[in-house]
Amino acid sequence: MDTHDHKPETNASGFIAPTSNAVEPEFELSTVPGHENAAPIPEEAAIADSAPIDPKPKKSRTPFQESLRRFRRDKRAMISLIVILCIVVIAILGPFIYHHIGGLYKQQLGTHIIGPDVYHTYDHQELDRAHEMPSPQYWLGTDGIGRDILARLMQGMLISIVLAVVVEIVDISLGITVGVLAGYYGGWIDQFLARLADLLFAFPGLLFIILVAGILGGWADDTLGAVPVIGAGGNARLLLISIVLAFTSWPLMARYVRGQTLQIKEQQYIEAARTSGTNDLTILTRHIVPNLFSIVMVASTLNIAGTIIGEAGISYLGLGVRPPGASIGLMISDASQSLSAYPWELLVPSLTLVIIVLSFSFIGDGLRDAFDPHSKD
């Protein structure tokens, strides 16, 4: 506890100390041992009764907005958020641009002259150009059967994102509905949720997905393959996988929501609303669900990382996206067969996967820190 020599200056090694603690530290009350209540909170910048009316009152912020402000100050999370946004933009818009870059190319094996709109697609094979390193024509090189790695990577990222979005939509809507009802009313729905969650936690998720993929895979190829765009191009099983992933993940979300609902239910403002004659539906939708927002946001962000890894794992095992479709897991699987000779081909999708997963984890951590009431300043 040497408190006497805090100087916000350059330290001995010559680095400029990034906001020294003495200048602007967190005001964290709970660090005083056993002493939450005794800390010197000013009466929260109280608005005095007699205060003269400020002609232009500063915009008042909800605690939620305060949390967002804290989140925005979290450098790691903000960088991660920017990374994710870049990846989304690249995955969605990238291919359209990439299709117009690079001139005409005369095939060596055939005699066709093809443009970048052909050789920059994720499933075009140029068999005599296999295992190439990055070049002006193939920015990230080619894989074992001469497919453009960048094109495949963009497609893979798109798959990951679409999958994450689908899974989260199911996850959040089911999780909130069941969790809130279980937490608020208890009874059979609570029992049902508890048993279902137990069952799913006891049963290995991957095994479950393999089972479903094995049993329903053929059916999915036939029926879901007919769904345009998302079902086409070997992606039929992906749809199946995302449904299964969502099904295995929502009970966890529901449990979080249930726990939080139990806590909110005990808040006196819920009782106050009931005393004011507010009906249950309004209490649920206007008092409970809005206050769940932060926990749902944190939980789903962290869940996305798991979902993306899950899809990669399943595709790696050959149960997800099938060739000629592309996904990060599939790319890793393909590249791993020629790992010793061409490590580059493995590095690209693996690194992308790591970056995506880490970014989501960092965003989730940042959100949790920002919304956790204990770290409030």
Binding site: M1, N21, F27, V32, N37, P40, P42, A45, A48
Partner: protein, 325 residues
């Protein structure tokens, strides 16, 4: 006159927050004599607990920092002590009990073990057996019935009042010279509060322990303390023997506090005289007397300069006010 046990001079404890610097304790000076019971009264945010934590050197850094002053315990400045010396001091010479006895006790150890540990930590020559005997003796002393058996129980097997008594047993196990009690009875019911206060009073007299009693309850102060510091917005605004605080309060804040609490021995219906307004924003304490904005006797001078604590001409009583009663 005996030497001072504790002498706090110009203590400043600040908290550096995003919103600005909170001067939780700002230029506070007071003394405690051996065996004396000192009450520190104030509302939340007045700095009374921070004063106590500063004496214990338990201010979390950051955000807190003791920005100035000195705390002399038996003539030695606590602020110059090393971490090891502090650990040695805490629990043996100075102990503290907190408001919430549940969070202060470790739930995974028996209460007997926790008392014995405290004894052993400070007395290397004590055997396990002796320490355990001391634990049982202490539990008996704080009137836990069937102490020998109860020493083997875990904290959750005790009620709130009993837990606070266990805390007192831990705090007094090493015969400290100073016991700091931070709102020790606030979480307890009235009848249990009476038990605990009675016990603390008896034990501190028996052991000759000086007690710093931090509370917001003027009734508790009246019943247990000899001397009182009234704190407001980080400053001591009045300091006097207990009788004078209640009979001839000098600072308008003390007067206001006494008038705003209902008394059980009062006739009913008399209207309370509340203190107007709110405590100041601690980040932005206005210039001058911190109480000026709420004071019924405020003059122009009060808004310009801050009054120092000075004798008001009634013996030992002093107040930080230009126009004391």
């Amino acid at each position: 006159m005996a030497a001072n046990l504790l002498e706090v001079n110009n203590l400043k404890t600040y908290f550096y927050t995003r919103g600005g610097v909170v001067k939780a304790v700002d230029d506070v000076s007071f003394i405690m004599k051996p065996g004396q019971t000192l009450g520190v009264v104030g509302e939340s945010g007045s700095g009374k607990s921070v004063t106590a934590l500063s004496v214990m050197r338990l201010i979390a850094t950051p955000p807190g920092k003791i920005a100035g002053g000195e705390i002399l315990f038996n003539g030695e400045n606590i602020l110059d002590k090393s971490r090891d010396e502090l650990t040695e001091l805490r629990g043996s010479k100075i102990s503290m009990i907190f408001q919430d006895p549940m969070t202060s006790l470790n739930p995974v150890f028996t209460v007997g073990y926790q008392i014995a540990e405290t004894v052993k930590r400070h007395r290397k020559d004590v055997s396990n057996e002796q320490a355990w005997r001391r634990a049982v003796e202490m539990l008996d002393l704080v009137r836990i019935p069937d102490a020998k058996r109860r020493a083997k129980n875990y904290p959750h097997e005790f009620s709130g009042g009993m837990r606070q008594r266990v805390m007192i047993a831990i705090a007094l196990a090493c015969n400290p010279q100073l016991l700091i009690a931070d709102e020790p009875t606030t979480a307890l019911d009235v009848t249990i509060q009476a038990q605990v206060l009675e016990l603390m009073k008896g034990l501190s007299q028996e052991f000759g322990t000086a007690v710093m009693m931090i509370t917001h309850d003027l009734g508790v102060v009246a019943g247990t303390c000899q001397y009182v510091n009234v704190m407001y917005a980080g400053h001591i605004v009045e300091s006097a023997p207990v009788k004078q605080i209640f009979q001839t309060p000098a600072h308008p804040y003390t007067v206001g506090l006494l008038q705003s609490i209902p008394r059980v021995d009062d006739a009913r219906g008399a209207r309370l005289t509340p203190i107007a307004g709110q405590p100041p924003d601690m980040v932005n304490i206005p210039q001058g007397c911190p109480y000026a904005a709420r004071c019924p006797k405020v003059q122009a001078r009060c808004r310009q300069e801050r009054p120092e604590l000075q004798l008001v001409g009634r013996g030992d009583q002093s107040a930080a006010c230009f126009y004391p009663n």
